[in-house]
Symmetry: D2
Subunit: 306 residues, 4 copies
């Protein structure tokens, strides 16, 4: 597939677990098939939403293999190759090369503190190690540092990276990234990780979105994308407001648990909707309890998802 | 070895690289032997200083195996089993169980955001998976969150963890950790990661220190430890001031590169002193250049280390 | 004036200085008159852009008095009563009550660390001290803490505050603030402090914007507001992209100086355009030098402002 | 008084309030006299502990006047002239010049973001405006930025500032500040704001300490200072551990309220001990309630202070 035209809605797929806390391929397939049936434009597995950093190397291969089999070429497959440093990232990319993976998604190195020069070298070293298209993933809340937008566009112009997934939470920076990218002929495909201000991201110039909530409600994002392309902004806003209300399923835990509240909310919703078998989360994350799950269910009902 | 009496100076060993950027066991042995000859009380490999997060699983085993062979039981061997989440940490611990490892050192999970409840569960799950003594490693600058001191002492009282390596940079919290630990009968061995205020940490009640600078100058820390035990505080201060001056080798890079400046400074010093073969750092970290290395050399000369 | 219908473009006016670093009323009048001629819908003086925290109590009165005289009732006048704690804020509000001030703008208390309960009490105490409409000003980058959106809407429902100026930089939170406010009957007038993603803020439901760049180019924001109300989103985006390019005048200093780069950029642009007499900034802020001013001028020329 | 020899214990005095929330001079006098009787070496009013940023300009003069009258030259009087920007700071200093004030204590400017160049200019402008000795106050938790240690020593060498009160919480930086200051002939008097690791600060080379807890228990700090000067480190540690246990009075509120928990704890302790008339805090800070005050009382009893 030609990744240089990639656009639209590419949800980051969750990684469901069975009663024994093992990867549940059957549920995983149901989540993906439901997305594709809804009209999404690509699938991103092993992102933060896909519990990537909880997976060992072997687990990851199992998940990539499963994704490849389930998707069977119907839409592009992007895989998060997210790890602490360059060599470990390359190890994951080498596994991806064995399957029908259309692009890999890579963050800056993390844990060991770094400067932008080293981050740039990280992407260059990875480019030398693979022919797969690379999306840089800007996620300061997890990684502890941001990706400089000028560095990104420069890497795009040189062909080192082919796109960016922006989850920086910095809407000003994202607009400037879009403008700079446009100024240089649009070398990068730019995707926003937003669930709640997709309308703003699209107006800013995003080529598409990667909404975790798309696991639960892929339709709202596909419809928003279509309405945006028809310039029906009243409809865009209506759908975005609905998605924002639905996104409150990620705020149902008694305390803020970060990943446990967010991905935990998605898992619990999918479990409530009967799409996956459990709402379990990988160790050491405690899943939502019954009273928290009830709150999720109430939101789903109010929005017609249950 | 009985880890419950562990005290003194336990440097976190660097992981030297050869010209091909491969692990240089010969240099690694020289660094360790020099430390043991100086009288240090234990060796900590695969810590942050040991480039742990840059290493793949296979690399890590090679390093643990080498450390075991070199140390040959002369002093306790602690190994950092540092990774993003529980299952990956356990995978590294299982490798340690094959060698003469006296304790493993484990941080809170990182990348995926978490709450203290999940962090506590992380340590409990690891305890269930191994019989090895566990040191909790508090390193918020890399991990993004701190370890609650009451949780630590509670885990100590229950036998879940056996010690703490504190690199929190929070001297008030460390004092309270020492006091609380003492109040409950000293269930935890408490080590400070300080290079520059070891005197303060020891007065606060630390059982010992884990100074990265101990790679370059193990003597100054061994002497400080001995002077402290003789209550010769004038000597303690004199030695600590000397160590602080030496520590400026980690501030010789033109820009602050974090790991690259710190561990890069240690590597360059050891290279200048002829103890290791290169000052290379693992990808993507750019090593100190010649003008930066010259600054390191000047400090070493001034302090009589070169 | 009925503040409950306030909407549109309300720039935060700069406070120009003369050669002796005294308040330059003549230049101040020119900046305001130019804005009103461009069709802006209100004027906000003594905001962060108006150097409010650099001003003594007496200076502030001079500026409020001047603003009142210059505006002469043509548009609503909002005044920042921004100070460290409640009593000092009230002191400034009492001065405002002597002039034709339509609303005061108040941040959370700062310097002494506080919790949301105390912040809420701050707004309640101020309400008891004045009859003037109050806008809460959410500016975590200066104040060090954010205003909880549920607290804000609750205070709005009770009539404690009448509006919010949001400069949180958190677009997700702003959308939820708009949605919650709408859900409860729109008790608060909601303004975004954005310069660069005004389109996104308006789609999210903002009643208007408070762009510092409106000092330099009020027209681009008035035109954007009009285009938005005509649902001409192609025009909105075109204008927003232009404003974002113009906003780069705040990134012309050799080092990032915060206020000095931002307000310094506005001052220098107005000086270059011949609207104010100097580009001086209040002590201790160093103004842009000639080479930096040249960069500002280049941007202005490219955008047809010079 | 010759501030160039200042050393020892200089508590930052609280500002007690009466039933009407007005400044209670009588209680203020009792707090100060009790400190002087205990042997402290100076008094610091209108620090963060003295609720400085809650006070209007007139209130501040009242407090300085009262301090001058009460102290009557028995010990040096330091006054916090803490405000957002240079001109406002100078306004407060001009008031100090009317009384027997031995030195003023000044933070970096705050609220408007700034760079180190502007901070340096802030201190230089203040030096031009007064002949009073100036202590730079490093308090990043309130001010939002740190004071560069090399800048501080340079300003000391030039005679711009005469001392530093360090409340940075950064023990490594404080040690380097002490060493650099020593290297250049000790131009600055260096005080630590520590309550809990005074022993470490003194070993690092501090000339003295400014402990807020000294309001409640001045003796423990005077005794610690004396023991340190006699090189009785067992006694120093014993006293420091006692002070740290007493400091837990600042952790008795149900939620962390920052200033409200800390200074609120001191106020409540003094009220429980019958030294001041209320435990009220300036608006908008909610004072400790009865259940919280009970916890404070228990700690005081355990430590023999009640």
């Amino acid at each position: 597939m030609d990744i240089s035209k990639l656009s639209g809605v590419i949800p980051p797929v969750v990684t469901p677990l069975d009663k024994d806390k093992k990867f549940d391929k059957e549920s995983f397939a149901k989540v993906i098939n439901r997305m594709i049936d809804a009209g999404i434009h690509g699938v991103f597995v092993l992102g933060s939403t896909g519990s990537v950093v909880f997976q060992t190397k072997d687990n990851r291969e199992e998940i990539v293999k499963a994704a490849d089999e389930v998707i069977a070429g119907r839409v592009p497959l992007l895989v998060g190759c997210i790890d602490t440093q360059t060599d470990r990232v390359i190890e994951h990319i080498k596994v991806c090369e064995k399957y029908n993976v259309d692009a890999v998604v890579v963050t800056a190195p993390f844990y060991a503190l770094d400067c932008q020069d080293n981050i740039e070298r990280h992407f260059r070293s990875i480019r030398e190690a693979t022919k797969l298209p690379i999306f840089a993933y800007d996620l300061p809340v997890c990684v502890g540092k941001s990706l400089d937008r000028n560095m990104l566009v420069n890497l795009g112009k040189e062909g080192i990276i082919q796109g960016v997934k922006d989850s920086s939470g910095n809407d000003v920076n994202f607009r400037y990234l879009c403008m700079t990218n446009e100024h240089y002929g649009h070398p990068l495909r730019l995707f926003s990780g937003h669930e709640c201000v997709v309308d703003g991201a699209l107006i800013s110039g995003a080529d598409g979105v990667v909404p975790g909530l798309g696991n639960v409600d892929p339709n709202v994002y596909v419809e928003m994308w279509n309405a945006f392309n028809k310039k029906d902004f009243d409809e865009v806003k209506k759908l975005q407001d609905k998605a924002a209300r639905e996104m409150l399923i990620t705020a149902c835990t008694k305390q803020d648990m970060g990943f446990g509240s967010g991905v935990g909310g998605f898992m619990t919703a999918l479990h409530q909707m009967g799409i996956i078998k459990t709402n379990y989360l990988p160790e050491p994350t405690i899943p939502l309890d019954d009273s928290e799950a009830k709150k999720v269910a109430e939101i789903l009902k109010k929005e017609g998802l249950l």
